[in-house]
Symmetry: D2
Subunit: 345 residues, 4 copies
């Protein structure tokens, strides 16, 4: 049982957090944010890049699984993850109408690293996820450039900011300012410590239903008439536990449980989408070996993995709001931060 980051979020926790309490506690994972804002407050958007592992991802793919908790979303790249169980490119997150631009950037990034693509071998499955930041951002202006996406990839490192940054710059979570949140958990399996990391871009839910740890905060905060649950939530799960793509899909499915613990019921307009990957096995694109040998977790030990996943992701979701500052946006809209609402310094 534990308390985290701040006495105001009293999260039940059976597993300890990793040293950074972020997704980058999983060795090899890097995250980069590019924040795009204009002085007139009309532009509040950005890109968040998750590089899931070192080396050449296309040549040495990761096993992965995806889960569509609620499909009101425009994410790109999930079909192939589901069919082949592999991830071969970084995961980029941005606003809904900038998916095409960020996809172009990701394609060029992958072409640059892999001269064989489209010549002597197949194409590449780039992954771009999105939330709709139009409450604070002039989303119609399509202000994200390909260079912004490339910069997010370039800047990616093991340390990164949470809150109203990157793809989270203009997002709204549970009526509060949302953004990028992350957390991690450590779990022992057969005498070795493994890490589960979560990163979320939060743009979902209604204020009145916000739950923080053991507290229905939203019921107190919400003086107004309840709003519709719109927006979306992108959830990235990383681990160094050897999991098969089927197991990773099961892990991704548990993102519904983490969302629910924060008060979400996955409203109609919420594209709640999760991708889980493991850094433990690599699948060689150019390998001509007839067989691939993988280790995966004995299923009897997977319940704890699910539990730690829910813990990490619940904290990541709340952390996004905890770290976000009150933000003024397009059309004079102002979204207060959670801490301002709670009058926490």
């Amino acid at each position: 049982m534990g308390i985290r980051k701040d006495d105001n979020i009293n999260l039940y926790s059976r597993y300890p957090a990793g040293p950074g309490n972020k997704i980058t506690d999983v060795a090899g994972v890097k995250v980069g944010n590019v924040t795009i804002q204009s002085e007139d407050h009309n532009v509040n958007t950005g890109v968040t890049a998750v590089i899931p592992a070192g080396g050449n991802l296309y040549r040495d793919k990761l096993l992965a699984g995806a889960s569509v908790i609620n499909g009101y979303g425009k994410s790109v790249g999930l079909i192939q993850i589901n069919e082949l169980g592999t991830l071969e490119a970084p995961i980029l997150i941005t606003n809904t109408l900038s998916v095409g631009t960020v996809l172009n950037a990701s394609v060029k990034y992958m072409l640059g690293q892999n001269p064989e693509i489209g010549v002597s071998t197949m194409t590449v499955n780039c992954v771009v996820c999105e939330c709709n930041d139009s409450r604070l951002n002039d989303i119609r202006g399509m202000h994200v450039t390909e260079q912004d996406a490339l910069d997010a990839l370039e800047k990616a490192g093991t340390d990164f900011e949470e809150g109203a940054v990157g793809a989270g710059t203009g997002m709204v979570m549970m009526g509060c300012k949302g953004g990028v949140g992350s957390a991690s958990r450590l779990i022992d399996i057969a005498g070795r410590t493994y890490t589960i990391g979560a990163l979320a871009v939060t743009n979902y839910g209604t204020e009145h239903s916000l739950i923080m740890g053991s507290d229905h905060v939203g019921a107190r905060l919400s003086g107004q008439r309840p709003m519709q649950d719109k927006g979306s939530c992108i959830m990235i799960l990383a681990t160094d536990i050897p999991l098969s793509c089927r197991q990773l899909t099961r892990m991704a499915n548990r993102s519904a449980h983490a969302l629910a613990r924060t008060g979400s019921y996955s409203g109609n307009y919420s594209g709640d989408i999760a991708i889980a990957f493991s850094t433990a096995n690599r699948v060689g694109h150019f390998s001509e070996d007839p067989f691939v040998r993988v280790d995966f977790l004995n299923e009897r030990y997977i319940s704890n993995v699910f539990e730690a996943t829910v813990e990490a992701l619940e904290e990541a979701l709340l952390s996004s709001a905890w770290h976000a500052e009150t933000t003024e946006g397009v059309r004079g809209n102002i979204i207060q931060s959670l801490r301002d609402k709670l009058s926490v310094k």
Copy 2:
């Protein structure tokens, strides 16, 4: 926002409960329990029957959807619900190894009502769901008879018991005695009041993770070393709102959120399965009209339906434990009731 049934379960609630606060608040829904116990405590099992609507279900089918939250389960009948979007038989719930017997009973029940089946028309898709009650029940003995299932159908009415009865007789929820639980919510749409009802047979989770309303009760209860999350949860959702089968599937998907609010992370061994149906449209089996006309809810109003569904089901899940008594079972196993654990009279 409200408190329900008892001051000890302080559930956040935006929607009022129906008059009976049970699934049978949805007009036409009937529930029947047959409880099977032996004096030597070796047998603790039963059957719960949900008759989803009046009239001849086979001739006038309901729209329905199903969701497999975690597929470690042996439920029967979901494939056809998913393909055709209809429910044409009652839903029966029992222990895992008695599915065949209860299926036989349901087939005979349907044959009795419909002399055309297997002669001048197709067969019938009977639905049987299950949980594993072997912690308290001699499940290998296969003690449920076809007559037990027929009796549950025969006894079905608008009033029924919750707790350690029917299919819930031998179930264990979150380390406490589980069973049958039910609740309902009322929701206004366009000036008319509709009802959402939930019934659950609960056999899932670990004591240490139990959440009741806003309280991590399990963290206090659990002195022992945490157990694996095994068992299952069958969740039946009923409504009189005109929903399409796609919308009912979305509704069923929200059962993950309700489970999570009680502390579940859908452990490996938990067959968490939901079926949702609407009584508002009937689809005629023998109709030769070229087209079927249905009304379904404008999607913009569905988020509230999801929220009310999560509320009703969360309460149904907790209600199953709240109403169950401490039970002695096979091999001397005793599972304490939630109220005994909490020392509530």
Copy 3:
């Protein structure tokens, strides 16, 4: 390219058949048929058992995948195959209304082999598939007994009959007498020969659309007004190639292609369902090792596996009709054999 079994079925084939040209060419696979017929022709039904491998299946599970091509069907056991990717019991096939009885038999068979089930370990996922044989069988009579199913398991061997036997006794395929059909293909991977086997119970399609190899036979046969495509098709695929459950699901998905080559468009009432398993890896139920090591096929070599699968299954489907005799059934219905229709001796 080859011709098979008979000059009248000129099948295009790139892969050679195995020595028996049946699913039992895959080492370890056994098939048993129990045929149930009454002298008054009212009863024409049965059970077909597929034992997928030697040893104790529950203790040492196989990897498996399933595919629902058209879900108008009542098969049991697919949910867990999809979630866990394993097969832990034989596959039994019977008529639609006898699923409960055969399921009971399978449960008892598994309990007999595994005293731990339901006491010191979980329950068991039995798999029962079905087609509706009511055109020739008094299906309402539920004439299959548990002993019939146990006998089919008992009789299972590497040699077995095709045609109007076992579960295929009362089935109708493409307006002709259907039944049990099987075939196999050999495929070289990295210098070693592997086997793909297919077994089908055929009860689908309309006479007018029957295609045999390169011949639209049905267009000539069908003098009558075209009938609806009703009935179902159960398709079992076996291989000794090391395939993951994801790959086996992909393999099962190709059963649609084989069906189509015989003229099917998977009519509304056709429960077209496929299960694929590999005998190459075993997953230990009681293993406490933290990790499971499996080899699976390098995806770059899988297209040939798909092609050989389609070839084997297409032949299995046609073989069921080729081997079936004209059968008189309930209510005076007579279904002519394909060979009688073609006036082939």
Copy 4:
């Protein structure tokens, strides 16, 4: 039974073709091709736009369903079609690496038509599908511009070319030059004639397995060592029959059967993806009515719809090759036309 377009393709057909024998026989459907080729033959690519109905698609959405036959593909927009059952934007098809650019164009096209998007209402789900034309096209050059996509939308009409045009310019089907193909079928339901239209962009299969009507052509054509089945196939199905999104998904699922009739077994690298829509019902984006009333086909009549769909799509697939000319492409690659291979003038 009929013969179509040319005596050399002898297709079995139970349903008559519509007046144009193209997808545009479905009233309201428009198709536009933009073909992009360079004189040095390095560029062979393009865009095909399918505008599914008149009026403002975003304000008055169509019901739709999608099916992933094999998910080695990068199509965009399917997640939301599956969740909501609606299509709210044109379908654009291009090469794999140009999806981002075409997506941007489609977003701008939709923003132009709908000033409310991203301001007073949600965003928009644009649909872009793709095949890999790198055997004939310098796909790394990303030669498609946003203007090309807008031009394809602008040019869209009821008459359009088939063969090596638009998105099909650089595609290869079954070892022959592929491209854009289309066909239609008329079907009577309750005394009224309805239309089913199909359009395919074909880039799949291996020469040795090509089947045309009742003829295994490929087995004769293919002197070379068999090639891998790579590439993809995008299949668009349109109808004016009132079908629900569930029924449209079932319709889309039958695209596997049509593929198979041409010899495909959906090889590993083939992103075989189908989208089906009906023009019969419109769902109002801004409607505040509590309920939507739709008519949908009585399921008992749907088998014929499936059969006519398979017929139309089979012909569309073959028609793409029939109309394509021998094409020289990048790196000196030349892909012969089917007619050249068959020496048909």
